[in-house]
């Protein structure tokens, strides 16, 4: 069957549904709050050349990063993967992003001509709420990777169908919450099996050659759509530099510089000029930087093209080796995936705003407000780790206000219901509210941030990883900036202690942690009282 306009659409539906079915299996069977309630995982399908063909992305930060996992697996096992093999990894310098993100990769084979032929690969990535290291949640203010938790280079989790229980035992023993790890890994394995089965069914139904041809055609299709949209952006070089607050160890601002070059249907994203890699944990492995870049490309050129590697063919991402956006081993990366990636999108969108001022929103909150709490739950007599990211203000759009209290850009995790939280952990929510007035004023207003006040019912160790606590999200085209965020500890419930944006601290029962997230920037000069806009 030759590839035509009709079969292309039919196969597109099928490939996407494979990754979606993997996602359904993972979510429904996973164990931890983080994967089930917050859907912090993604699933993808690859061709034999390890190019990503389709992805069910629940979290944009996983979007462009998974191909590196499959490539790392194949480099580690150059003799190839056999039927029934599953590779596991989390090493940020060998196919991973940060240690809590554990990725599984497996081949799918079909019986063919008396032997077995490779159809492609399936892969999933899930955020595990604890993989050991110096602080609960494995996202500490570290100075090197070894402090962040257990490093898993590409290893065989399943060898020709035999699950390596010893390896699972080792991983679980290195986690503060071993039961969750056991359950979540089982869910990831179940999801891999669903993907394998479904891909094999397609190859059986349509034949291996047709399946491979349509994988290739789908990559070409996404490439065509992306090129076409890029060519609609005015040619030029658009440069921006912005600063992160700090790396959690010093007060020094950290520059992210980017020059985006649009030339015909090609896009070059060059991070030359960005700060050198930092001693603190905010370094973003290259795969994470590529993910953030691909996210912005999809926002700008539209997402009608299936998310696959074809979208990246007309895009070149240049990352200076040894910089914040492409660190060398074994720098700490815990915050790179969650904070630096979020700021990279801000900077890229600011650059695109020069090219398309009437399409790009002002800066959004620019952080994920990671809050990681761990300790021993006295009343339930067991250790616990609770991880939450908190939404904030979305930047105002050229034609309307930003949305309040929402996750933007590189994350889309759901919050944990207050009642689910209190059933599960020795914590009590005192407030979950919009932070009114925190969005920047403007012709269109930035969205408001959030306030989440958590009371501790027993002693705990808390890590907060957040940004935009010093440099507020800017407004565009005369719009005002949004309020910067604040982290406050109410000692004993009353005494206010202002915390840094990135901090690990020990708290007592009765203390309250108040996270107040940034508002989004405004767009356009605010209207005066007569309803007319004016410039300053």
């Amino acid at each position: 069957m030759p590839v035509d306009a009709i079969s292309l659409e039919v196969f597109k539906n099928m490939f996407i549904s494979v990754s979606e079915e993997m996602g359904v299996a993972l979510q429904r069977t996973s164990y931890s709050t983080n994967m089930k309630e917050r859907q912090d995982f993604s699933c993808a399908l690859f061709n034999p050349a390890a190019e990503m063909v389709a992805q069910a992305a629940h979290q944009p930060v996983h979007l462009g990063a998974m191909p590196a996992s499959v490539q790392a697996a194949l480099q580690t096992f150059p003799e190839g993967l056999r039927p029934g093999d599953i590779i596991i990894l989390n090493d940020p310098y060998m196919g991973g992003s940060h240690l809590p993100d554990i990725t599984l990769v497996a081949p799918a084979y079909i019986d063919f001509d008396g032997g077995q032929e490779l159809i492609g690969y399936v892969s999933n990535r899930g955020h595990h709420s604890d993989v050991g290291g110096m602080a609960p949640g494995s996202m500490p203010l570290s100075t090197e990777l070894y402090q962040e938790g257990m490093i898993i280079p590409p290893l065989k989790l399943s060898d020709a169908g035999r699950i390596n229980q010893e390896l699972i035992a080792l991983i679980c023993r290195n986690s503060r919450t071993p039961d969750d790890r056991q359950g979540d890994l089982a869910a990831q394995i179940a999801s891999i099996r669903v993907g394998d089965t479904r891909l094999t069914e397609i190859a059986q139904r349509y034949g291996l050659a047709d399946t491979h041809e349509h994988m290739a055609a789908l990559l070409d299709y996404s490439e065509r759509l992306t090129r076409r949209r890029i060519s609609e952006i005015p040619d030029g070089v658009y440069s921006v530099t912005d600063y992160m607050d700090d790396d959690g160890l010093t007060q020094e601002p950290v520059a992210i510089s980017v020059a985006v070059t649009v030339a015909g249907d090609l896009l070059t994203i060059d991070f030359t000029g960005t700060a050198e890699q930092r001693p603190g944990c905010i370094n973003a492995p290259r795969a994470v930087t590529v993910s953030a870049s691909l996210y912005v490309v999809r926002c700008v050129v539209g997402d009608e093209a299936p998310a696959n590697q074809g979208c990246l063919r007309p895009v070149e991402v240049i990352t200076p080796r040894g910089s914040l956006v492409d660190p060398q081993p074994q720098r700490g990366v815990a915050g790179g995936n969650v904070e630096t990636s979020q700021r990279i999108t801000d900077v890229l969108l600011a650059a695109m705003s020069q090219a398309m001022p009437d399409k790009i929103p002002a800066s959004s909150q620019g952080t994920m407000n990671n809050m990681i709490i761990g300790g021993h739950d006295i009343s339930r007599d067991k250790p616990y780790v609770y991880y939450e990211t908190i939404g904030g203000g979305m930047g105002a759009r050229p034609d309307k206000d930003g949305v309040s209290g929402i996750h933007t850009h590189m994350t889309n995790t759901m919050n944990t219901p207050v009642e689910a939280l209190e059933f599960a952990f020795p914590l009590r929510l005192r407030r979950s509210a919009l932070r009114r007035g925190s969005g920047g004023d403007g012709l269109h207003k930035g969205g408001d941030g959030l306030i989440r006040d958590v009371e501790f019912l027993s002693p705990a160790r808390v890590t907060v990883l957040s940004e935009r606590r010093r440099y507020a999200p800017p407004g565009y085209h005369g719009g005002h900036h949004g309020e910067h965020g604040e982290n406050v500890l109410l000692k004993g419930g009353y005494e206010e202690i202002h915390l840094a944006g990135k901090e690990t601290l020990d708290v007592e029962a009765g203390d309250v942690l108040s996270i107040r997230t940034p508002g989004g920037g405004g767009w356009g000069a605010p209207a005066d009282h007569d309803g007319h806009s004016h410039s300053h």
Binding site: L8, E9, T29, H407
Partner: protein, 670 residues
């Protein structure tokens, strides 16, 4: 003597009436009267000549649905625990589309100016940490006294464990001089997860005033009481529906599933997949010998967590628009030409739709549409299809076949989602198509999925009215308990259930329902400790042998295995919610099977025409479906024309009319 049952389904375009009387089903269809639906209803009843006094009267209404979707509900205030007034607006803080920089969130149904927080707090054990003070209640009442609100919703944290604060406040709110519609979350949905619960109770207060007004008026016009269809597929008295209208919010598609399931069971096929293909979308539902329910639904972006039939909707229908996108793929839908301008062949639209593709392939007759009431413009479809074909780079015929194939692949994906993704093999099911377009696509779709049989009901266009007519009286109750380990014992469960039953029977007696005759069925929502999705299993009965927890766990593992393909027998479980269903089975008039009149169908043949199938054009016999009789055999290729649909029987498929007037189609070789 069995009573007459009248089911009335009011849709946007048509009001359908199904009358079950003396073992016979009579159907009636007339235009709806959207400005005042009761006019269409009374006109329809007059036309049928039914004696209302001697009939049960059940109504499927979209009044609550439309009030919500069109933003025409009442002005609604919300009272919450202090500090949680914005939970309704924040929701789960995620966005529906990852890459849409212009995304919007639906506006909260209770605006921030009308959201009030009161200082009170109950913890996860149900213990009161902070009392609800009279002072704060007085302040609230003084604020609400002069506020022009039509409804008030109350949702305090953990009220499902201890409703005392909500109930106290409800009593005081009832004193308000303007008499707003009041609903409290511990009554509407006593379950955990504050956002979903709050959203549900707010929706209830929002649509409540509209629904109450409508039902009062309808009852006065009819001069009698009636029952209302709920989203769960059961019916309830109009006065309970007026109190809890949120339970009717998705009752529209529910009638179709109930009707299809009833039809399937009667024909001997209790395992069915329903396919309700309309103009803009297709609803599919899987019934594995029973109608499946869910409590996680969302309408217009507003979560509604009361029981409803599990229905999956996909944006693919007869009006779905076909186009070639910038990357060169033929895409069909989700944009739809709707009813206005409608498909190109309706004469106004200039976009090619699925209906146009069917028309040019000869699968739809230009003169047989809506029983000949409307003529389709074949030439217009052909001309516009030619333009599209140039973009595709294929012949017009291949392009039309491609449109059908693509829209079928969209529906195939929906059916996979409700079957294979949930652990069901579609090859063990019968496909039951209805709605205007379903019977045109069913056989090819079944072929792609390996479904061995298609059952086309006798009256596919009024299946919803039939479902409404035969809906049992059902009232659902639930309560979050969160029991595990030593807390989970038979005495505790029994005490909880007995308490629920007492309250439930008292409420139903108030409705003059024979509560003592109603069957109580007990269910448990169970999960592994720490999981956040529950599966519903039957609650073991008191005298069941063995350890209760083991018994529940074993049922849960089976359900988990079925649904997810694995289960871990070692992991501990917890019981999250108790569910109680009180049911009064409505005596369904047994339809009388007709005797076979032989296989010959010559009498029903009305001509022949060339119809294009995947293998090319074939000379195809046309039949008048109304002339088909029990026992008649149809050999594909064939087209069966009837008032509101056309059945396409491709080459290689054969059909037989069963004793109930259903057409059972099967491929020659499975």
């Amino acid at each position: 003597m069995p009573r007459t049952i009248v089911g009335i389904d009011v849709g946007g375009t048509f009001t359908d009436i199904a009358i079950l009387q003396d073992g016979q089903l009579a159907v009636h269809k007339l235009p709806s009267t959207p400005a005042d639906p009761s006019r269409g209803i009374t006109a329809g009843i007059d036309e049928t000549g039914v004696d209302l006094a001697a009939a049960d009267f059940i109504h499927g209404s979209t009044v609550a649905t439309n009030a919500l979707l069109e933003g025409k509900g009442g002005r609604t205030a919300l009272v919450t625990t202090l500090g949680f007034e914005d939970v309704l607006e924040i929701g789960r803080q995620n966005r529906a589309d990852l890459y849409d920089l212009g995304m919007e969130r639906p506006a909260p149904l209770a605006p921030w100016q009308l959201r009030f927080g009161l200082p009170e707090r109950i913890d996860y054990t149900g213990a009161i940490l902070d009392d609800l003070t009279p002072e704060s209640v007085e302040t609230l009442l003084s604020l609400l006294k002069d506020a022009p609100v039509d409804g008030v919703a109350v949702s305090f944290l953990f009220s499902f464990l201890n409703p005392v604060h909500e109930e106290m406040l409800a009593r005081r709110l009832a004193e308000l001089p303007n008499g707003p519609f009041i609903s409290i979350s511990s009554k509407i949905l006593p379950e955990f997860r504050e956002y979903e619960r709050t959203s549900t109770v707010v929706v209830n207060s929002y649509v409540g005033p509209v629904m109450a007004r409508y039902l009062t008026q309808l009852e006065s016009v009819l001069g009698r009481g009636l029952r209302i269809m709920q989203s769960s597929g059961g019916s309830i008295t109009a006065s309970l529906a007026a109190e809890q209208p949120v339970r009717t919010i998705l009752s529209g598609p529910a009638g179709g599933v109930v009707g299809a399931f009833y039809t399937g069971v009667q024909a001997g096929y209790p395992d069915i997949i329903t396919l309700d293909m309309g103009g803009t979308s297709t609803d599919v539902s899987l019934c594995p010998g029973r109608i499946k329910e869910t409590t996680s639904a969302n309408l217009g972006g507003y979560p509604v967590s009361v029981p409803m039939i599990e229905i999956h909707t996909v944006g693919a229908g007869g009006g779905s628009i076909a186009r070639v996108d910038a990357g060169g793929a033929l895409v069909v839908g989700p944009q739809s030409a709707g009813a206005d301008p409608g498909p190109a062949c309706y004469g106004r639209g200039d976009r090619i739709t699925v209906t146009d593709a069917n028309l040019t392939l000869g699968r739809l007759r230009p003169d047989g549409f809506l029983g000949g009431r409307m003529t389709l413009d074949l030439e217009r479809s052909r001309a516009l299809l030619g333009d599209l074909a140039a973009g595709v780079g294929a012949s017009a015929t291949d392009t039309a076949l491609g449109i059908i194939r693509v829209v079928n692949s969209n529906m195939e994906r929906a059916i996979r989602a409700i079957s294979l993704e949930r652990g069901y093999d579609p090859r063990e099911f019968t496909l039951v198509p209805f709605g205007g377009a379903g019977p045109m696509h069913a056989c090819e779709l079944a072929g792609e999925l390996g479904i061995p049989r298609v059952l086309v009901p006798g009256h596919p266009g009024i299946l919803s009215a039939l479902g409404v007519a035969i809906a049992d009286v059902v009232k659902d109750y639930s309560r979050t308990v969160m029991l595990k380990g030593d807390d989970l014992d038979q005495a505790r469960l029994d005490t909880e259930f007995r308490g629920m039953e007492q309250l439930a029977r008292a409420e139903l007696l108030d409705e003059e329902l024979p509560a003592d005759d109603m069957t109580a069925r007990r269910f448990l929502d169970v999960r592994y400790v720490g999981q956040s999705f529950e599966l519903t299993v039957d609650c073991p009965t008191l005298d069941s042998p063995g350890d209760l927890t083991d018994h529940i766990a074993s049922d849960f593992y089976d359900a988990h295995l079925q649904r997810f393909g694995y289960a871990d027998g070692e992991l501990p479980i917890e019981v999250v919610n108790l569910r109680l269903k009180l049911e009064l089975a409505v005596a369904k008039p047994e339809l009388e099977p007709a005797a076979s009149e032989g296989t010959d169908v010559a009498h029903a043949a009305i001509g022949s025409a060339e119809v294009v199938f995947a293998g090319g054009p074939v000379n195809t016999t046309l039949y008048d479906r109304d002339e088909l009789r029990t026992g008649n055999h149809i050999a594909g290729p064939a087209l069966l024309l009837q008032l509101d649909t056309t059945i396409v029987v491709p080459p290689g498929w054969n059909g037989e009319v069963d004793p109930y007037g259903n057409l059972i189609l099967e491929p020659e070789t499975v």
